[in-house]
C-alpha cells in the first residue's frame, strides 16, 4: 500500500520536475538576457507595444531608434512587445487593457473608439508634456484631432505616422490609352472608360479587405460632401441613409458595374490588388502615402506617378478635402507615476523628435511624416516630393465613420459597402448602416 502511494507520488513529482525544469530554462534565459546589460535592480522597465515589428524599412528605422535610446539610457530597459499584424496586435492590446496590464507605451489609431480610453484614464493626457517642451512639440502638424475629444479635455497621443490617400498610376498605361491625369471626377470617369476600352482594368479594388471600399467611400464623401460631414457624423446631424450618402454609394456601384474595378472585387485582397498594379494589369491604385516605399521598390517603380483624388465639378470648394491625417500614434499609459512616467515621456520624445523623423525618412528614402520638415529633393524620392507638394493646402479627415461615437459603426459601414459590392442595392446598404445606429442607440 505504502509502496503504491510512493510510486504514484513519484510519478506526480516527476511530472512536476519536468515542468519545473522547463520553467527553469525560461527563467534562466531571462536572467541571462538581462545579465548582459547588467542587473535589473534600480532600472526602470518600459514596455512598448507598437505595430512596427517587421523587416520593412519603416519598422527597421524605428527599431534602430529604440536601440539608440537603449544605449543612451542604460538605466531604462525597453521591452518590445510589438506585433505588426493587425488582428494579432488588436488581440494583444485589448487583452492588455482589459486585464489592467497595459504596456507603458502603446500604439493606437485614435478616433471615437478611443474616447473611452481617454475618459477612463487608460491613456495619459499629454497636454502638459507637449506644452512644456515646445522644441519637441512645435514641428508637429496639426493632426491631433483623433486624440482630442469633446467631453474630455486633453490630448492623448502623439502622432507617429502621417498619411493621405491619393491615386498612384502607371504612366505607361496612361499614355498607351492616351489619357491625361484627371483632375475632376468627370475626367476621372472618362479616363477609366478609356482604359477599360483599351482592355486595361482601370483601378482594381481588393474589396475582400473591406477597408478598401471604406476608403473609397470616405474619399468620395469628402470630395462630394465636404469636410463638415465628419462633424455631422460625430454629432449625429446626418444619417447614413441620407440621400447624399446614397449618391456616393450609387457612384461606387456604377463604377463597379462599368467594370472599372475589375471582376473579382469581393474575392480579391489588397495584396492581389497591388499585384495587379505591379504587373501592369491595372492602371491605377488608390492608396495612402505609406505605399510610396513599396511603389518605388516594385518592378514598375519608375513608371509610377501620383495625383490627388479628383474633385467634383459641382463642388470645387471641396477640392482640398483629403482623407488623411495621423496614422498610428503613441500614447502613454495613464497609470504611470514617478520614474516610470519620466522614462516613458523621455522615450516618447526621443522616437518622435524632428531628428528621429529625419532619420526615418533617410532610412526609408522618402515618405511623409506628421512634422514640418524640409524635404530635400535630392535625398527623397520623386513620389514623396509630389506628395508633399500636393498636400500643402489640404484639409485632412480620417475615415469618416471613425468619427462615429459608436465604435461598431466602423465595421458596420465597411461591411455594408462590401455587401453592396457583393450584390446589395446601394440604398439598402445605406439603410442597413442607419438601422444599426438606431438599434445601438435604442
Amino acid at each position: 500500500m505504502f509502496k503504491k502511494i510512493a510510486v504514484s507520488s513519484l510519478s506526480v513529482a516527476m511530472l512536476a520536475g519536468v515542468l519545473a525544469g522547463c520553467g527553469g530554462s525560461g527563467e534562466g534565459k531571462e536572467n541571462s538576457s538581462s545579465g548582459t546589460s547588467g542587473s535589473n535592480e534600480g532600472k526602470v522597465k518600459i514596455r512598448i507595444l507598437t505595430r512596427l515589428a517587421s523587416e520593412q524599412p519603416n519598422a527597421v528605422a524605428f527599431q534602430d531608434k529604440v536601440k539608440e535610446f537603449q544605449e543612451l539610457n542604460p538605466n531604462i530597459v525597453i521591452e518590445d512587445l510589438s506585433v505588426e499584424d493587425g488582428d494579432t496586435f488588436n488581440t494583444k492590446f485589448k487583452t492588455s487593457v482589459a486585464s489592467g496590464n497595459l504596456p507603458e507605451i502603446f500604439a493606437n489609431y485614435g478616433g471615437a473608439a478611443f474616447a473611452e480610453y481617454a475618459k477612463s484614464g487608460v491613456a495619459m493626457d499629454l497636454t502638459e508634456v507637449l506644452e512644456g517642451d515646445k522644441q519637441w512639440s512645435e514641428p508637429f502638424l496639426d493632426v491631433f484631432d483623433n486624440w482630442r475629444f469633446q467631453d474630455v479635455p486633453g490630448t492623448y497621443a502623439v502622432p507617429y505616422e502621417f498619411f493621405a490617400i491619393g491615386v498612384f498610376y502607371n504612366k505607361d498605361l496612361f499614355s498607351q490609352a492616351n489619357i491625361q491625369v484627371p483632375t475632376t471626377i468627370g475626367e476621372f470617369e472618362e479616363a477609366m472608360q478609356k482604359l477599360k476600352d483599351a482592355g486595361i482594368v482601370p483601378m482594381a479594388l481588393g474589396e475582400k479587405d473591406s477597408w478598401r471600399g471604406g476608403h473609397l467611400y470616405s474619399v468620395l464623401a469628402n470630395k462630394l460632401m465636404g469636410d463638415q460631414v465628419a462633424d455631422d457624423i460625430l454629432n449625429r446631424k446626418i444619417k447614413y441613409d441620407d440621400q447624399r450618402f446614397i449618391d456616393v454609394l450609387e457612384l461606387m456601384k456604377s463604377w463597379q458595374k462599368k467594370g472599372f474595378f475589375g471582376d473579382n472585387i469581393v474575392s480579391l485582397d489588397t495584396t492581389a490588388e497591388k499585384n495587379m498594379f505591379h504587373t501592369e494589369k491595372t492602371a491605377m491604385h488608390m492608396d495612402g502615402s505609406w505605399y510610396i516605399g513599396e511603389a518605388i521598390k516594385s518592378p514598375i517603380g519608375d513608371k509610377i506617378g501620383f495625383f490627388p483624388f479628383p474633385y467634383s465639378e459641382d463642388k470645387p470648394e471641396y477640392k482640398d478635402v483629403w482623407m488623411g491625417g495621423a496614422g498610428m500614434a503613441f500614447s502613454i499609459s495613464g497609470t504611470l507615476e514617478g520614474e516610470k512616467k519620466e522614462a516613458a515621456i523621455k522615450f516618447l520624445k526621443f522616437v518622435t523628435s524632428e531628428d528621429a523623423f529625419k532619420y526615418y525618412q533617410e532610412v526609408q528614402q522618402g515618405g511623409v511624416f506628421p512634422v514640418k520638415m524640409e524635404v530635400d529633393p535630392t535625398k527623397v524620392d520623386p513620389l514623396s516630393v509630389s506628395y508633399s507638394e500636393a498636400i500643402k493646402n489640404a484639409t485632412f479627415r480620417s475615415e469618416l465613420y471613425a468619427y462615429d461615437p459608436l465604435p461598431q459603426m466602423f465595421d458596420t459601414v465597411r461591411n455594408n459597402i462590401q455587401g453592396m459590392f457583393a450584390g446589395m442595392a446601394p440604398d439598402k446598404a445605406a439603410k442597413s448602416m442607419q438601422d444599426q445606429v438606431d438599434k445601438l442607440l435604442k
Binding site: 504514484s8 519536468v18 519603416n58 488581440t91 487583452t95 504587373t279
Partner: protein, 277 residues
C-alpha cells in the same frame, strides 16, 4: 489478410487513395512552389512553377528571422506539453474509466466541458492570472496553459477507449496481485496505445500551431515559436509570402515525423483488439 476484410479491395482502394492523396497533397506542392517565389509571383502566377529556384526565401526564414531557433522552441514546448497531457490525461482516464467511482461520470462530464470552450473567452482571465505571478516570457506558463487546454480532449478520447477494454482483465490482474499502478502502467496503458498515440498527435499538432496564447504571453524574441516568428513577415504595407511559405516547408518536417512515429503506435496497438468487449 486484413485486405480480405472487404471485397472492395486492391485496385479500387488504391485508386481512391491516390485520388484523395492528390487532393490533400496539392497544398504541399503549392507551399513548396510558393516558397521559391516572390509575393508578386505568388499572386500573379499562383499555380505555375517558380520562375527561378532561389533559396533566398529560405535564407531569410532560417537566418534573418531565426526560424531554426523557433522550430526548436516550438518543438520543445509542444513535446513537453504533449507529454504532460498524455501523462495526466491517461492517469485521469484510468481512474474515470476503470475504477467505477461513484462520481466518475460527473467528473468525466466536468472534463468534457473543456472541449467546448472558445479560446477567446479565456484570454483576459488568463492574462490577469499570468500577470499576477509575473509569468510572462516563461515556457512553463505556456506549457501549463496548453496542458489545461488539451487535457479534456485527451481524457475524452483515452477514457472512452479504456472503457472498451474488458473489465475481466482488471479482475484477473488483481487476483494475480497486481496493484492499480501496475495495472495502469503495464496493462491498460499499452492496451490503450491507439487512443493515446492519437491524443499525442492531436495535442502536439494544436500546440505546435498555436498563435493566440503564445503571442499574448511571449515577447522575448529568443523564445519565439514558429507562428510568432512567421508574423515578422507580415507588415502593414505588405506581407512577404515567400519567406512565410519557406518557413512552413521547414517547420512541418518535425510535425510529420511526430505524426509518422505515433501513427505507427496507433496501428501497433492491435493487440488491444484481443480484449475488446
Amino acid at each position: 489478410m486484413r485486405l480480405a476484410r472487404f471485397r472492395l479491395s486492391g485496385p479500387v482502394l488504391y485508386l481512391i487513395s491516390i485520388l484523395w492523396a492528390l487532393v490533400t497533397l496539392y497544398p504541399l506542392v503549392f507551399t513548396v512552389m510558393s516558397s521559391f517565389k516572390t509575393t508578386d509571383e505568388i499572386y500573379s502566377a499562383p499555380f505555375k512553377l517558380p520562375s527561378l529556384y532561389s533559396f533566398s526565401n529560405y535564407a531569410k526564414a532560417l537566418f534573418d528571422a531565426g526560424m531554426l531557433r523557433a522550430i526548436g522552441n516550438s518543438f520543445g514546448i509542444s513535446i513537453v506539453s504533449t507529454l504532460s497531457v498524455i501523462l495526466l490525461g491517461s492517469l485521469a482516464s484510468f481512474v474515470l474509466a476503470r475504477l467505477g467511482l461513484k462520481f466518475g461520470n460527473a467528473i468525466l462530464l466536468y472534463f468534457l466541458l473543456g472541449i467546448m470552450i472558445p479560446i477567446h473567452t479565456t484570454l483576459i482571465p488568463l492574462m490577469k492570472m499570468v500577470s499576477s505571478v509575473n509569468g510572462h516570457n516563461h515556457y512553463l506558463t505556456l506549457i501549463l496553459i496548453y496542458t489545461a487546454f488539451h487535457l479534456p480532449f485527451a481524457i475524452f478520447l483515452i477514457s472512452s477507449h479504456m472503457r472498451g477494454i474488458s473489465k475481466e482483465l482488471d479482475e484477473s490482474a488483481t487476483l494475480d496481485g497486481c496493484g492499480p499502478i501496475r495495472l495502469f502502467a503495464s496493462i491498460l496503458f499499452p492496451l490503450t496505445m491507439p487512443a493515446i498515440a492519437t491524443a499525442f498527435i492531436l495535442t502536439f499538432l494544436y500546440v505546435y500551431n498555436d498563435l493566440v496564447i503564445a503571442v499574448i504571453f511571449i515577447s522575448d524574441k529568443s523564445m519565439f515559436t514558429i507562428p510568432l516568428t512567421m508574423l515578422t513577415f507580415v507588415a502593414r504595407s505588405l506581407t512577404e509570402y515567400g519567406p512565410i511559405f519557406a518557413s512552413i516547408v521547414v517547420s512541418i518536417i518535425p510535425m510529420v515525423i511526430v505524426f509518422l512515429a505515433f501513427q505507427e503506435r496507433v496501428v501497433s496497438g492491435l493487440a488491444a483488439g484481443a480484449v475488446k468487449e
